[in-house]
C-alpha cells in the first residue's frame, strides 16, 4: 500500500519498512526546537534524571535549537531570569543553534529555523510551540509538543508514542487575483474544515497554485494548519524548496526530498480553486469564523498589526509598504509592524519599507512575537478592535479579554490602516 509524505518520513525515522495511519511509532528526532519555554523544559529534563545518579545531558546538543522570541527584550524580571537560566544551559551543553536577543541573529523561531537552514525535507522536527507546523513548508514532518515531552526528547532522542496521523490532501488550483494571498487561502480552508476538522491529521498541500507559490507563502499555509487542529501541514519538497534552501538559507549539503506514493491513502481530498477567492477575514473569537472581508467592511479598527511568524516576511512587508507608501495611517488607528526576524528587518530597511511605514505613521517594532500573544507589547484597551496578520484571534489573545482580534492578510491590514475601518484592498486605499 502506498504511503503519504508523513508516513514515509515516519517510517524512515522509526526504522520501519512502512507505516500507516493509526500506527504508533517512535521516530528519531532530527531537530528539537524550544523558545523561552526551554526554561520549563530544563526543569522537566532535570526531573527525569532525579534520583537516577546520572547526569542530565541532552542526547545530541547539535540537534537542539533554542530561540528567544516570545518576550524580547524581556518584559519582566521573571522572563529575564528565565532567559538568563536558558543562556546558562546553552553554554553548559554547548548548544550552537541558539539565537539570543541580538540584531545579528534573532527573530521568531518559525522564521529563524528556515532562514538558517535548520529545516530539511524529510526531517522529523518537534518544537514546544504549536506553530511548529510551519516547517512542513520545506517538506519536513514538524509538529508541536509540550515541555515535558520535549524533556523526554532531550533524554531519548526520539518522540515516544507518536500516532501516525491520517492525511487530508488539499489540491489547490487557479491563480490568485490582485490583493489575494496565501493567507486568504488558508483562512478559507480553515473556515471550511473548522477549528477541529484536521485534529490528529496532517494536511498535505498539492496542486499548481502550491507549486507556483514561494516558500514564504507555503510557510503561511503550514503555519496556520494547526488552526484547523492539524498535527502538521506539509508541502512535498520541489524545485522551490531547493531554491530557498540553497539561495536563501545557504544550505550546501545533499537534500533528501520525500514524495508521496502515487497510490498513497488519503482520508479525504479537498479541492480549492483560488481564482475566484476574495480577501478573507477571521472574525472573533475563533479562527474558523471566516468571512469574505466585504461582509465586515466598514468596521472601525483601533489597532493594525502586521507581522508574526505567519505574515512578517519580506514579501508581506513589501505588500503592506506598497499600499501605504505616501499615505497616512488614519487618525484614531495605531499601526504596529514587527518583522519576523532581524534579517528581514535589515532587508526591509534596504528596500525602504521601514521608511515607508514610519513616515506613514506606523510603529516599527523589534522582531519577536510582540503583540501576537499579548504579553508585553501592543496590548488592546477595553472594547478595542484589532486587525492583525497573526494567526490567532482567541478571546484575550492580544492581552485583553474585553477586546476583539480579526485576522487577515497584509494587504487587508495595510488598506484598513489608511481608512481606519476594515477595508477590501481591491476597492480600498489603493
Amino acid at each position: 500500500m502506498g504511503m503519504t509524505v508523513v508516513e514515509k518520513i515516519l517510517a524512515r525515522a522509526a526504522g520501519l519498512p512502512s507505516v500507516k495511519a493509526g500506527d504508533v511509532v517512535e521516530p528519531r528526532v532530527d531537530l528539537a526546537m524550544s523558545h523561552e519555554n526551554a526554561a520549563l523544559v530544563m526543569n522537566q529534563f532535570q526531573e527525569v534524571y532525579e534520583g537516577t545518579g546520572r547526569e542530565a545531558k541532552p542526547w545530541d546538543a547539535s540537534k537542539i535549537a533554542i530561540i528567544l522570541d516570545h518576550r524580547v527584550p524581556a518584559e519582566s524580571p521573571k522572563t529575564a531570569t528565565n532567559q538568563k537560566k536558558i543562556r546558562g544551559f546553552v553554554v553548559k551543553h554547548n548548544i550552537a543553534k541558539f539565537h539570543d536577543v541580538r540584531g545579528d541573529q534573532g527573530g521568531i523561531c518559525h522564521q529563524i529555523l528556515p532562514e538558517n537552514g535548520y529545516v530539511r525535507p524529510g526531517a522529523v522536527i518537534v518544537g514546544t510551540d504549536s506553530h511548529t507546523t510551519s516547517h512542513g513548508a520545506l517538506g519536513a514532518f514538524s509538529f508541536g509538543i509540550g515541555a515535558t515531552e520535549m524533556a523526554s526528547v532531550w533524554a531519548l532522542g526520539a518522540a515516544v508514542n507518536v500516532e501516525v496521523p491520517a492525511t487530508i490532501k488539499v489540491v489547490v488550483s487557479g491563480k490568485f487575483g490582485k490583493h489575494v494571498e496565501p493567507k486568504d487561502l488558508i483562512l478559507h480552508l480553515i473556515g471550511k474544515l473548522t477549528a477541529q476538522g484536521a485534529n490528529f491529521r496532517v494536511i498535505e498541500f498539492h496542486g499548481e497554485t502550491i507549486r507556483n507559490m514561494s516558500t514564504s507563502g507555503r510557510l503561511v499555509l503550514c503555519n496556520m494548519s494547526v488552526e484547523a487542529g492539524a498535527t502538521s501541514g506539509i508541502v512535498p519538497a520541489d524545485a522551490e524548496t531547493e531554491r530557498y534552501l540553497r539561495d536563501e538559507a545557504g544550505v550546501k549539503d545533499k537534500l533528501n526530498p520525500v514524495q508521496p506514493d502515487a497510490d498513497a491513502v488519503y482520508e479525504r481530498v479537498v479541492e480549492i480553486d483560488v481564482s475566484k477567492l476574495a480577501p478573507q477575514i477571521a472574525c472573533p473569537h475563533t479562527v474558523d469564523n471566516v468571512k469574505p472581508v466585504t461582509e465586515v467592511a466598514g468596521k472601525r479598527v483601533q489597532q493594525i498589526v502586521i507581522g508574526s511568524c505567519t505574515n512578517g516576511r519580506l514579501d508581506d512587508l513589501a505588500t503592506a509598504a506598497n499600499i501605504l507608501r505616501g499615505k497616512k495611517v488614519a487618525d484614531g488607528t495605531r499601526m504596529l509592524v514587527f518583522p519576523a526576524s532581524w534579517r528581514i528587518y535589515l532587508q526591509a530597511m534596504e528596500k525602504g519599507y521601514v521608511k515607508d511605514f514610519v513616515t506613514a505613521g506606523a510603529v516599527v517594532m523589534n522582531p519577536g512575537c510582540g503583540p501576537c500573544l499579548g504579553v508585553h507589547q501592543g496590548a488592546l484597551g477595553d472594547d478595542e478592535v484589532a486587525l492583525a496578520t497573526t494567526n490567532r484571534n482567541f478571546k484575550g489573545r492580544m492581552g485583553n479579554p474585553k477586546s476583539e482580534v480579526h485576522l487577515c492578510s497584509p494587504a487587508v491590514a495595510a488598506a484598513s490602516a489608511i481608512t481606519g475601518v476594515i477595508t477590501d484592498p481591491r476597492q480600498g486605499a489603493n
Partner: protein
C-alpha cells in the same frame, strides 16, 4: 464521584484556560493561580478552595485547542478535576497524559451544572439523570505512559534501561 462545576462550549482555547500574559510563570507549583483567569468568578472559587478535588468540568468538542503551553494542563492539575470533553485537541491531550491530568474523551456526554458524575468501567455515569456514556479509549501505546504515572517516570525508566 464529583459535581459538575463548570460547563464549557466548543473550542475552549489554551488562552482561555491559561492566558498568554502569564506565560512567564512556568512551574507547576505556581501556575494554578491563573487557571481560567479571565473567568473571574470561577477563578476566584478555585483560589478560595471552594471547588473540591475530583470536581467535574464538562466541555464540548475540541477542548484545549491552540497553543502547546503546558501551563494550561499544570494549572488545571493544581485542582485535580475530572475533565470530560467530547473531543480534545491533540497537543492538549498529549500534555494531559504526560502530566497525569484526569481527562476523558466522551463524545456523547450530557451533564448539567450540579449533576453528579462518576467514571465506572469504561463509562461516564451521570448519577443525577441515571444515564451513562461510553468513553473513547486511547491507543494502547499511550496507556504505557499513564501506567508509568506520567511521561517523566516513563522516560526515567527508559533512561535507566539505557534506551
Amino acid at each position: 464521584m464529583g459535581k459538575v462545576v463548570l460547563k464549557l462550549g466548543a473550542d475552549i482555547s489554551t488562552d482561555d484556560i491559561y492566558p498568554g500574559r502569564y506565560m512567564a510563570t512556568v512551574l507547576p507549583t505556581e501556575t494554578p493561580q491563573y487557571c481560567f483567569f479571565d473567568r473571574t468568578e470561577f477563578n476566584a472559587k478555585l483560589r478560595a478552595k471552594e471547588i473540591p478535588d475530583g470536581s467535574v468540568i464538562v466541555a464540548e468538542h475540541n477542548f484545549g485547542c491552540g497553543s502547546s503551553r503546558e501551563q494550561a494542563v499544570s494549572t488545571l492539575k493544581g485542582y485535580n478535576p475530572l475533565i470530560v470533553a467530547k473531543s480534545i485537541s491533540r497537543i492538549f491531550l498529549q500534555n494531559s497524559i504526560n502530566l497525569g491530568l484526569n481527562i476523558i474523551i466522551c463524545p456523547t456526554i450530557v451533564a448539567e451544572l450540579g449533576h453528579e458524575v462518576e467514571v465506572q468501567g469504561g463509562k461516564v455515569v451521570n448519577k443525577t439523570t441515571g444515564t451513562s456514556f461510553a468513553i473513547e479509549a486511547l491507543p494502547a501505546a499511550r496507556q504505557a505512559i499513564i501506567d508509568a504515572g506520567g511521561l517523566i517516570p516513563y522516560t526515567r525508566k527508559r533512561v535507566m534501561a539505557g534506551a
